[in-house]
């Protein structure tokens, strides 16, 4: 059986890496652990995010990436969920310990989220104008005329032409790409400091993907905001993210500047992910064997050990701590 409860008391350690920007980190997640119905989903996840940085949360489906994003928005509060750890953001020491009222001032204004499937993330019964105008009116106090003007501006800067006509349209009347642009416009309407993008292009055509990623990046940089991308596409992450956090089964296995982590990966899982990326001159594919452990059956010790070629008895008995090595954080007993 699992041994999460014994492990949880020791912190795995906060990231000790120098950040890209010397000022205080914008967001700091420290030892976030989440259990659903008694089963561990996240285990002591820690990372920092500086101002103006883009960070990529990378991993397989089910690794817990979207869960982290939802935790960062404070959207995972239900009786079945137990959440531990600290989240420092916007001057709040630990947002996770605060009641709902504390979150209400932040959501939409200082922290915003873009969801994976724009078609289902937009309310089918309300017009675009209504959904875009709501945060402007409610959070920024705009009047009708100002809301309309700003809405058109936002839609246009999101790359939608004929913005005025779009205001009266319903979500189902737009294509997937347009819907995602609307979502981006809504998320950035109040100029948040932090944007969470949960697989923003997974549901879109390949031809649109690049445009949308470009849009998000340019909009985020124009506001000097930070962005966390949740991605399963390592190649995409390598192109858009300053830093990368590699997740496996709810644990951080490797984290650091994209360049260092990807050029010379120290963790066997990162290497395995890299080998999955199909490049122009790829001749053979060697996907890693096996899959993520089931939620209720997390192995003791390093969770990747069952699939790792370097695993030893130490790996299966003790979870490796996150420590700094060669310019990044890594959790492995046998890195390199």
């Amino acid at each position: 059986m699992t041994q999460q409860s014994a492990r949880r008391t020791e912190p795995r350690g906060q990231s000790v890496l120098p950040l890209t920007h010397p000022r205080e980190p914008l967001l700091s997640l420290v030892d976030i652990s989440l259990a659903r119905n008694g089963h561990s989903v996240l285990d002591r996840v820690s990372f920092d995010l500086g101002r103006g940085e883009t960070l990529g949360l990378v991993g397989e489906s089910g690794a817990g990436k979207s869960t982290i994003a939802l935790v960062a928005m404070g959207l995972l509060r239900s009786p079945a969920v137990t959440l531990e750890g600290r989240m420092q953001f916007a001057g709040h020491e630990n947002l996770l310990a605060e009641p709902e009222a504390g979150w209400a001032t932040l959501r939409g204004r200082r922290i915003a989220m873009i969801f994976q499937d724009p078609a289902s993330a937009l309310n089918p019964c309300f017009t675009i104008g209504r959904q875009l105008g709501d945060p402007l009116r409610r959070l920024l106090g705009f009047d009708r005329a100002a809301t309309r003007r700003r809405s058109i501006e936002l839609l246009e800067s999101a790359g939608l032409n004929d913005a005025e006509a779009r205001l009266a349209a319903f979500p189902h009347e737009l294509s997937g790409g347009m819907q995602q642009r609307v979502m981006i416009a809504i998320a950035l309407a109040c100029n948040p400091e932090l944007l969470l993008a949960d697989e923003p292009t997974s549901a879109l055509d390949v031809t649109i993907q690049a445009q949308i990623m470009q849009l998000i990046l340019s909009q985020v940089r124009a506001r000097n905001a930070s962005c966390i991308f949740v991605l399963h596409d390592l190649a995409l992450a390598s192109q858009v993210c300053d830093r990368i956090v590699v997740l496996y089964a709810g644990q951080v296995v490797e984290a650091g500047p994209t360049e260092s982590v990807l050029r010379r990966s120290l963790h066997p899982y990162t290497n395995a992910l890299k080998s999955c990326v199909i490049e122009f001159d790829t001749e053979t594919l060697t996907p890693p064997e096996g899959g993520l452990p089931a939620i209720g059956a997390m192995p003791a010790g390093c969770r990747f050990a069952p699939r790792c070629s370097r695993a030893t008895a130490l790996c299966t008995s003790q979870t490796p701590p996150l420590r700094s090595l060669e310019g990044r954080d890594i959790a492995c007993w046998h890195p390199g």
Binding site: E100, R107, R109, M113, F115, S120, N123, P135, R138, F170
Partner: protein, 315 residues
């Protein structure tokens, strides 16, 4: 859009015709000779014959049907031989408003209590509230309404003497008196309906609240009450309206029983009395009227779909 509306109207017209044909054949299939019934016990062969010709009963059936339909549309529904009043007067002017008032009161009550209860149930899923609401909705649906009416009469009318147990007072003549008399009947009639509304609201709202657009709205900082009532319920309106619209028939069904229990002079009571008195023309009028009511309501519900669900509107 126009085409779709026209198609709907055409369908409705066809259904109305079929219902009218069925109502017409009701009279024809009824046992007993209508002419005999009208003439009473003592009649001669000549008067029988002349009345038959007068009523057009000697002509071929299709011709009689058309004739009857024409008269029906014009409001000539015949005369009741028991009360000697025109049936139109009896059924449409006197009885129908009673039934409609009762139904409206019951519907209002069911929505007023049912929807909030359903919402509460959905928002506090699996709590004690939810369990209680589920128990109520199960019991309310299955409980025989005429028995409920009698129980209410016994408890509130007889034992505590709080409410009147019979009779109808028109609210448009005396609002509070009318309302007072409607309390027990409205509760009786609305209970199964309320139970259904609780169940439908809860089921749909639970499903809606799991949708990504609700999480997205929360991510934008919408307060919880708005999430539930504005973002959530707006998407529940359509399935709710569908069910409510379809339940009008059930409401009339219950009205028959409630009117009997509480002695309200509505359409249900009219039909029942008519069957007991073998007044087939009245039965026919009642059946036809009920059918038309349900059909027109269904049409109204159908036409309201595009209003409620933007996805159904023409591009």
């Amino acid at each position: 859009m126009l085409r779709w509306t026209l198609a709907k109207v055409l369908q409705t017209a066809a259904v109305l015709l079929i219902v009218s044909a069925a109502s017409f054949s009701l009279l024809k299939l009824a046992p007993g000779d209508p002419v005999e019934l009208m003439l009473g016990d003592d009649y001669s062969k000549e008067s029988h014959q002349s009345l038959m010709i007068q009523l057009g009963l000697d002509r071929p059936l299709p011709e009689q049907y058309v004739d009857w339909l024409g008269r029906f549309v014009r409001g000539d529904w015949g005369t009741s031989f028991v009360s000697r009043t025109p049936i139109f007067q009896y059924a449409f002017v006197e009885a129908l408003p009673v039934t409609l008032t009762l139904s409206a009161a019951a519907l209002g009550l069911a929505l007023l209590i049912g929807i909030p209860l359903g919402v509460l149930s959905a928002v506090r899923k699996d709590s004690a509230w939810d369990a209680a609401a589920a128990a109520f909705s199960l019991t309310g649906s299955a409980f025989p309404s005429f028995y409920l009416g009698i129980l209410l009469i016994w408890i509130f009318g007889v034992a505590f003497g709080l409410f009147p147990t019979m009779g109808f007072v028109a609210p448009w003549q005396d609002f509070w008196g009318g309302a007072y008399h409607l309390v027990l009947p409205a509760i009786t009639l609305s209970t199964p309906f309320m139970a259904l509304i609780v169940r439908i609201t809860r089921a749909n709202l639970v499903e809606v609240l799991e949708q990504p657009y609700i999480a997205a709205a929360r991510a934008r900082g919408e307060p919880a009450w708005r999430i539930t009532w504005v973002h959530g319920m707006r998407n529940v309106l359509m399935p709710l309206a569908t069910i409510v619209g379809l339940q009008l028939g059930a409401l009339l069904h219950g009205a028959v029983l409630t009117e009997t229990v509480f002695s309200l002079p509505g359409v249900g009571r009219m039909i029942t009395d008519a069957v007991l008195n073998r007044e087939y023309m009245v039965v026919q009028a009642g059946v036809m009227m009920t059918g038309c009511l349900v059909i027109f309501t269904n049409l109204a519900v159908d036409l309201s779909y595009p209003v409620l669900d933007p996805r159904l509107r023409p591009r």
